[in-house]
Structures are given as structure tokens and as C-alpha cells.
């Protein structure tokens, strides 16, 4: 199937319109007419080859929502016309311990990313959601139960939503707990909404005084400007859990010291330059933990979508045409977006 897409032919070239091919619909496949695709920092890092290892042509995009146009002969879970989503993964080995546990994101043989992943399809690597259509194994397709008019704002749930939902759920955040969310950006704004819906007392940490009201509007019970030493000091030893969404190198001790005994801070971003080495005394003298978490499994992603539909949670977005993608990337680098760009696929 010939498909319109937008991608780059090299790391130093701008994205441009291109024609790509999608595979024929196999027995287990679902063909999707893409309606919207969210714009993630990973898109930019990959397409510009900032992490290395990018295969070209590169078509990014892994926050995909759209409608089913065809299903394979063995597909029973999806019907033509249904609203569906595709996130960061389109395949995994399906036989390792992590896949068996429904945690495909930790597939011991490496999950297949929605773009830049290994595949036998042309051109030999996966091509993502900056395109009009995609064909995906039904195991990696999610049902979307939000109202149709929210669809664009649902797209970011497929990466930003699950990346924050998964650790909040795994570490059992809920009522009676005090939970911090560090960084109020694409990920953090979802973290605040989800932790609030889970019933926790949510404290948003931001470096920007001017995000204070925004964070309260997102559902935070308190907002702490992390550059303010007195505000930080007042929070010492009081958190059950902290979700740290900041990938930029920063002082982790400022946050581990805010944890209660047995509290955990989870990092979801790999820093380009290492964080200053964390103070081990902060961990030892409170039996505290620093952990990491990666997106979420497929079953958990469905659970998150259902949870968000039930609690009427979507992302706060700015809609763009695909032709504005380079400008959107530039603004994203400057954190100048509230809080996620979403591409209207009609513009392709």
C-alpha cells in the first residue's frame, strides 16, 4: 500500500514529504487510517540521529490514533471503523519472561519500536506515525474508548500517558499518599493528571514560577518551584513516591531528600549527560530507592487508556500541520509547548 509520509533522508536534513509502502494486511494485521500523531522528544532525537543508530529514510511518530480500515483473517478483536491507537511498540519476541508477563517493553530480545525498529518490511526498518496509514500486528493495537472529538488529545497518551501511568500504577500510587511529579512538560503534565485521578495528594515541581497556576489547573494540590530552597526544605521527608520526568542532568539529591522512609523516586528519562552522582547517604538513612521505568506493556497501555477514558483524561495539546514540524521541534527544545504537539494527519 502506497502511503503518504513525512520524514528525513538524513540527520542533517529537514523533514519532507515522501511516499512509503505499508505491507499487505496479513492474517494478524490491522490496517489503520491515521487521524492524529503526537510529537515526542524521541522523534526529534531519532530523526536528527542525536542518539546515533538512526536508519534513513526516518519517519518518526509513536503516538498514533486513527480508524481501522481493514483487518486480517485471524483478527477477532478489531473491526473496520473502530477507533484505535498504536504506541511505541509494534512487535516483540512474545516468548521471553518479560513478554510472558505482558511487559513487552522489557522484552529480553528487544521490542520492535514503531519507528527505527527491525522489520522485514520495506525498507528494512519500521516507519512511524508521521504518515497517513499504518499496518500493525493486532497484539500491539489498542482500543480507544474516548469520545471521538477528543481523539487528537488522546494521541499523547500512547507514549507520554503510559510512561507516567506505568510507574504510578506499578508502585501502587493511590489515596492517602503524597506524590511528587518533577517537571511539568509533555510527560509531567500527564503524570499530574493521572496521579490526581488515582487519588493521591499531588505536588508538582517546576523550575518555572510561571507554571504555578498551570500545574494547579492540571490537578496538582500543591506546586513547588524547585529553585526555591525554602519551598523545597518544607517538603523534606514527606513523599511516598516521586515521578521524575526530567531527562536533563540535574541534582537528584534535592528530590531523594524529600522522600519518606521507604520512598521511591522513579526516573523515566535517560539524561544526555549524567546527573551529578546521587548522595548514597540519602538512600541509606531512609531506606530510599532510585528506580527507572520504561513506557509500559500492551495490557497496561489498554488499562491506562480505559482509566483515562473513565476519568476524562486527555493531554493538553497544540495541533499542528505536518508542514510545521521543524518549527514545532524547535519550540519543543525550548519547552515552549503546552504540553504536547499533535499532528493533524489530514495535512499530509
Amino acid at each position: 500500500m502506497n502511503t503518504k509520509a513525512f520524514g528525513a533522508h538524513a540527520g542533517d536534513k529537514p523533514l519532507e514529504a515522501m511516499d512509503i509502502t505499508r505491507r499487505d494486511v496479513g492474517p494478524h494485521d490491522v490496517a489503520i487510517d491515521i487521524a492524529f500523531c503526537g510529537v515526542c522528544h524521541s522523534d526529534l532525537h531519532t530523526v536528527r540521529s542525536e542518539w546515533g543508530g538512526t536508519k534513513y529514510p526516518c519517519v518518526p511518530g509513536h503516538e498514533i490514533v486513527g480508524h481501522v480500515t481493514a483487518v486480517g483473517s485471524d483478527v477477532t478483536k478489531f473491526k473496520v471503523g473502530e477507533t484505535v491507537g498504536v504506541g511505541c511498540m509494534v512487535d516483540s519476541c512474545q516468548h521471553c519472561a518479560s513478554c510472558a508477563d505482558g511487559l513487552e517493553q522489557y522484552c529480553e530480545n528487544g521490542f520492535v519500536g514503531t519507528y527505527n525498529g527491525r522489520t522485514s518490511d520495506a525498507p528494512g526498518h519500521t516507519l512511524g506515525g508521521y504518515s497517513s496509514h499504518i499496518v500493525v500486528d493486532d497484539k500491539f493495537v489498542l482500543k480507544i474508548n474516548h469520545p471521538e472529538d477528543q481523539l487528537a488529545a488522546v494521541a499523547p497518551l500512547l507514549c507520554a500517558g503510559i510512561t507516567t501511568y506505568s510507574p504510578l500504577s506499578h508502585w501502587k500510587v493511590g489515596p492517602g499518599q503524597k506524590v511528587g511529579v518533577v517537571g511539568i512538560g509533555g510527560l509531567g503534565h500527564m503524570g499530574v493528571k493521572i496521579a490526581h485521578a488515582m487519588g493521591a495528594h499531588v505536588v508538582a515541581f517546576t523550575t518555572s514560577e510561571n507554571k504555578r497556576q498551570d500545574a494547579l489547573d492540571l490537578g496538582a494540590d500543591e506546586v513547588v518551584v524547585s529553585r526555591n530552597g525554602d519551598e523545597m526544605k518544607a517538603q523534606r521527608g514527606s513523599f511516598d513516591f516521586i515521578l521524575n520526568t526530567v531527562a536533563a542532568s540535574h541534582n537528584l539529591d534535592a528530590f531523594t531528600s524529600l522522600l519518606k522512609r521507604d520512598g521511591t523516586m522513579v526516573l523515566v528519562g535517560v539524561p544526555e549527560h549524567p546527573h551529578p552522582s546521587p548522595n548514597i547517604g540519602n538512600l541509606i538513612f531512609g531506606r530510599r530507592s532510585i528506580a527507572g521505568s520504561l513506557i509500559g506493556g500492551i495490557a497496561e497501555t489498554q488499562e491506562m487508556l480505559d482509566f483515562c477514558a473513565k476519568h476524562n483524561i486527555v493531554a493538553n495539546i497544540e495541533m499542528i500541520d505536518i508542514q510545521d514540524i521543524d518549527n514545532a521541534y524547535d519550540r519543543m527544545v525550548k519547552n515552549d509547548v503546552k504540553y504536547r504537539f499533535v499532528i493533524d494527519s489530514k495535512s499530509l
Copy 2:
């Protein structure tokens, strides 16, 4: 009560014989005739004021075993003549959340250390186990059920034993699990024995080729020389839990990469110089944790002593007279001890 002790009058002076005073036995007190006292790295750091904040005269020692010589009017748990122990703590606030949970080591108002802690007793700070007698609140006295002829080798359980038992127990180490113990010294040799007795498959990590047979004799199922890249690589992604007893600055990534998904590495030593900043990707791509743990609570210390008595676990020790303490410190700094010095209190 006038009491013989050995301590220092300043950080740059050698330890010497001195007379100290123990308080009269109050209603809740237990008076103990000290038989043996283990020698911990913390003794050396404190008496030489390497951590700062040492009050002089300083009498170290917090791995104390001996016999009850008197009990206060309200003491029902202990009788004259019984064999007892005292570890790192002699008091805590008894009303914070951690004390209420039996985790006095995390007392939110600061536990009172067995030496260099705050007290109204003369001389205004606590004096430890390098002495002939001690008077301790009964809540901080432990029962010892090991055979009397093992008593010297029981002393190190009060710090080295509980420091390793507590995290192994808290993180539920047991049969079917693969557990690493990093560093085969005073703490690590106890960690190997205890993890083995808990039923885990134990892998000892040492930098010394010549500790290989020793580690097997201690109960390790496998020994890995951590300087050997191939041996380390063969262990990747295979550990449920790693107890890291090495306080010296070292590369934590070499061990976090050995954890399975959802595995935890617990550090029990505060490094003098920071470890190289840990690789956050190692945590994120396997939902792994780095945590800390501090000694153990009083109830847990009793549980550990009972567990060790049941499994016939004691420390491997070298007995010394108190007059040899400076030499023992020098050897301890060079890791030249198998695996804990214990002072014979008769030498006082």
C-alpha cells in the same frame, strides 16, 4: 559505676586505657559485664574523627556481647546471668512513625548511637563497648541464644550481621532467587552466610582472586572476580537482588547491569568519595532500583540473632587484646582481616 575502658582523647591520639563512669541502674536499665566487642570500620572513622563531629573522650565499640549483672526494678525481660548483646543503638525517640514501626534505626528524631550519641549521662555523650561494663535501656538489649563458646563470634552479628540481614529480609530474599553479595569483608562475609541460610543461590563478588575459595567456604554457590570482564558479562541480567557492601567509590553500573528486570541493588556503605554517577538507562530499561539500607531495628536484630542461632551462623573472627587495637585498625584499613576483629574484654 567506675568502669575500665579504652578510648582516645583526640582524633590524632592513639587509644589508651581510661576510666569512665556508667550511670546507676535505673528502673528500665540492664547492666552488662562485657565479654567481647567486635571492631567495626565505624569505630575507626569515629575515633579518628574522619567523619567529623566526634566528641572526646571517645570510646568506640557497638558489637557488644556479655552477661547481665543487674536489672532495674521494671525490667522483666532480662535476668542476672543471662547472655545478652547491644548493637549500634542504645536509645531512640520511641514516638515517631519509624520507632512505632519498630524501625528505630530510621528514628525521625535521630537514634542514640552506642558511642558518640547524645545522652545526659557523663560525659554528655555515649561511650561504647571498648569497656568492661555498660548500662543500657532494656528496649535496646538483645537476647543471645547461641552456645556460650561461640560468644566472641556472635559479637559482629550486632552490626555486620544486622546490616546485611535487614536488607536481605526486607527485600524478601529466599529460595529460587539468585542473590549477589559484593565485597567479601566484615559485612559481605556475613551477607553470604545469611543469604545462603535464607535459601538463595548466592554469588559472591570479590576483587581478590585469592578470596575465591574462602567465599565458597562461607557458603557462596559461585564466586565472580569482578575485575574479570568475561566473568561479569556471563552474569548479566540474572540477579533478583544484589547486596553491595563496598563503601569505597566504585562503578555501580557493573552491578546494576547484572540485575534482572525489577531487580534491586542495595548499598549499605556511605562512600567517602562519590561513586561514578550511575547509568540511568540501566535502571530504566529494566525497571531496576538502587536502594540504601541502614543496620536494622531492634525487633529485627533479635529476629536476626535467633535466625543465626538456629542456622548456626556466627562471624569468622580474629580475637585480639585491646592493647592491639591500633594494629588491628591498620590491618582493617588494608582489608587484612578474616573477617572481623573481636576484642577480648578480659584484656582491659
